[in-house]
């Protein structure tokens, strides 16, 4: 069997394993969807009136629901990534990983199984969160092509952050560490254009907000879903996703291949 078909076959076997885990224990999935939905409701119904007024003279709560949704979608991705880091760290404590390492299989398939499983899980979470956003006043103007492009952007950033969280799960020596390491990621939509426009921020924060990877992703999503300007953000998004994916894939692979003494 060629390396490629071996890789596809073993990765899909491992994907089936991860999907079975999720189906059998759906509580994690619900927990991970819960966080972004609570933040969404909080920001629309508690802060939305005031923050909406800050968007411009005609700004109100319903306009803020539109503004905040791309940021909430990224919170959903980050929340799912945290779940991935936890489940990878938990998996590494299981004896079955040692078994996989002594089998003649495509070695990274354990990891690709986690990544593909998380990708499926995250896309389902994103669909659920989007439905809630529509219920609370999110009114996208996207045509079908723009919707597909938005889904593609979300899949790209999910793929990149999932590889990052797989690496974080592998580098953690305990499940607690794996749960804490991705925490800073959840702040990034706040320290970007996710909840308020960056030009309202003090200079130092604004510079960080403008150049961190989440801002171009959120601006691209906003452009695709709500028709605001995208500019160079689309290309910057693709570049960031590619860099994070490749870097974290190599990092995770090296971590997985190192000798473990356990």
């Amino acid at each position: 069997m060629s390396t490629l078909s071996l890789a596809v076959r073993d990765s899909s076997t491992m994907l089936r394993r991860n999907l079975l885990h999720m189906r059998r224990y759906p509580s994690m999935t619900f927990l991970l969807i819960g966080i972004p939905i609570i933040i969404l409701l909080l920001f629309v119904y508690v802060f939305g009136g005031t923050l909406g007024a800050g968007l411009g003279p005609s700004g109100d709560r319903s306009q803020y629901a539109n503004y905040v949704t791309p940021g909430i979608l990224l919170i959903t991705v980050v929340s799912a990534a945290q779940g991935t880091a936890i489940s990878v760290a938990m998996d590494m404590t299981e004896g079955i990983i040692a078994r996989f390492r002594t089998m003649s299989i495509f070695r990274p398939s354990v990891l690709t199984g986690h990544v593909l499983g998380s990708l499926v899980q995250t896309m389902l979470s994103l669909a659920a969160v989007t439905v809630v956003a529509l219920l609370v006043g999110f009114r996208p103007t996207a045509n079908p092509v723009e919707w597909l492009a938005a889904i593609g952007v979300l899949a790209m950033i999910t793929f990149a952050l999932t590889w990052l969280s797989v690496a974080l799960g592998l580098v953690s020596d305990s499940v607690e560490t794996a749960s804490n390491l991705p925490m800073p990621l959840i702040l990034l939509p706040f320290l970007g254009s996710g909840f308020v426009p960056t030009d309202s921020m003090p200079t130092a924060v604004r510079v960080f907000a403008d150049y961190q990877p989440f801002t171009p992703v959120m601006e691209t999503l906003r452009g695709l879903l709500l028709g605001t300007g995208i500019g160079a953000n689309g290309i910057i998004t693709v570049a960031w996703c590619a860099v994070i994916t490749v870097g974290c894939f190599l990092w995770a692979k090296a971590l997985y291949n190192r000798n473990r003494t356990a």
């Binding site: 299981e94 004896g95 078994r99 002594t102």
Partner: protein, 325 residues
């Protein structure tokens, strides 16, 4: 070793350290195809590390090893295709059912779907797991987990199986069931390297036994050969006072005395005839004995003699001293 015996595993001068701690200090192994080889030693002797190296889980710092001629470091995948490992900590997916675990293995071994299903049904039947096949492994007992673990190892029909303490923590009945399975595998021509802390287990199962202590092999041979390394059977006589011990020591010249414990160790094969003549001798000399225990040599004696570990059991006060004959 005759040349007609095909070596399944050959290792030369394996070394492994973690930081300053030397775990394996130059191990040589040669295991013939179709035999059961037991690696015996206390906790921390390096048994698990040896299995981890030979099963390609970790790299040795030095030395080399081959499985059916395939070098562990240069052709790890060729080695992996030939081996199966059942570790000390059960290598099953506890979130899945027994059948799903086996299906996972069949898929990873790239069995055809129909062939995989047949193999799984056979293994579930052979390991008495058919009734529990649809239940999550988290509900299994220790013995069931261990059987599933071994069944998963066997899905790919490995030619060499590593069993790291396969019966640790099992109740006596499950242990015997596991022994039965291991013997049946060897009878089919599978080569088995098993590690154990139980001398009885090695004695029961193994064609050859090696003692591992502090990262070194201190003895290797068949159980029979190893038992020959130590004094033969004996009877330990317990006395109530020094006087009794003194007169008995005069009667049995070949015996070894222990003044502190008031015991005398008399060489004896433990047979009824020789016991009777020993008792007759005691009778004739009018020596009163407070207690008597018969001792036939087992691997325990070999191990304790070789490692020089203090033996705390009262009935065996002699292991640190010179052989009785």
């Amino acid at each position: 070793m005759t040349s007609s015996m095909n070596p399944a595993i050959v290792a030369t001068d394996l070394r492994k350290s973690y930081g300053d701690k030397v775990v394996l200090d130059g191990i040589d192994l040669m295991i013939t195809e179709g035999t059961i080889f037991a690696l015996l030693g206390p906790n921390g002797a390096g048994k698990t590390t040896t299995v981890q190296i030979l099963s390609t889980l970790i790299d040795a710092d030095g030395g080399d090893a081959r499985v059916f001629g395939h070098d562990l470091t240069r052709e790890p995948d060729a080695v992996r295709a030939l081996i199966g490992v059942t570790g000390q900590f059960s290598a099953v997916d506890s979130l899945l059912t027994g059948r799903e675990n086996l299906t996972l293995m069949a898929d990873l071994c790239h069995l055809e779907r129909a062939a995989g299903r047949r193999r799984i049904a056979d293994l579930l039947d052979q390991f008495d797991l058919t009734d529990a096949a649809g239940k999550p492994v988290s509900t299994y007992s220790g013995g069931m987990r261990r059987r599933l673990d071994l069944a998963m190892t066997l899905v790919g029909e490995p030619r060499v199986i590593f069993l790291d303490e396969p019966t640790t923590g099992l109740d006596p009945r499950s242990r015997r069931a596991m022994w039965h399975i291991i013997r049946a595998l060897a009878a089919e021509g599978v080569t088995i390297l098993l590690t154990t802390q139980y001398l009885e287990e090695a004695d029961q199962l193994a064609d050859r036994v090696a003692f591992l202590d502090h990262g070194r092999l201190i003895a290797e041979g068949t159980p029979r050969e190893l038992k020959r390394l130590i004094p033969g059977g004996h009877v330990v006589l317990q006395f109530a006072d020094q006087e009794g011990l003194d007169s008995a020591a005069r009667t049995f010249e070949a015996a070894t005395r222990d003044d502190a414990a008031l015991t005398l160790q008399v060489p004896n094969d433990g047979g009824v005839g020789s016991l009777r003549s020993l008792l007759d001798q005691l009778d004739r000399a009018s020596i009163s004995v407070a207690g008597l225990s018969v001792h036939t040599p087992d691997l325990d004696d070999v191990f304790l003699t070789l490692t020089g570990q203090p033996d705390t059991r009262a009935s065996r006060p002699d292991h640190e001293r010179a052989p009785a004959r």
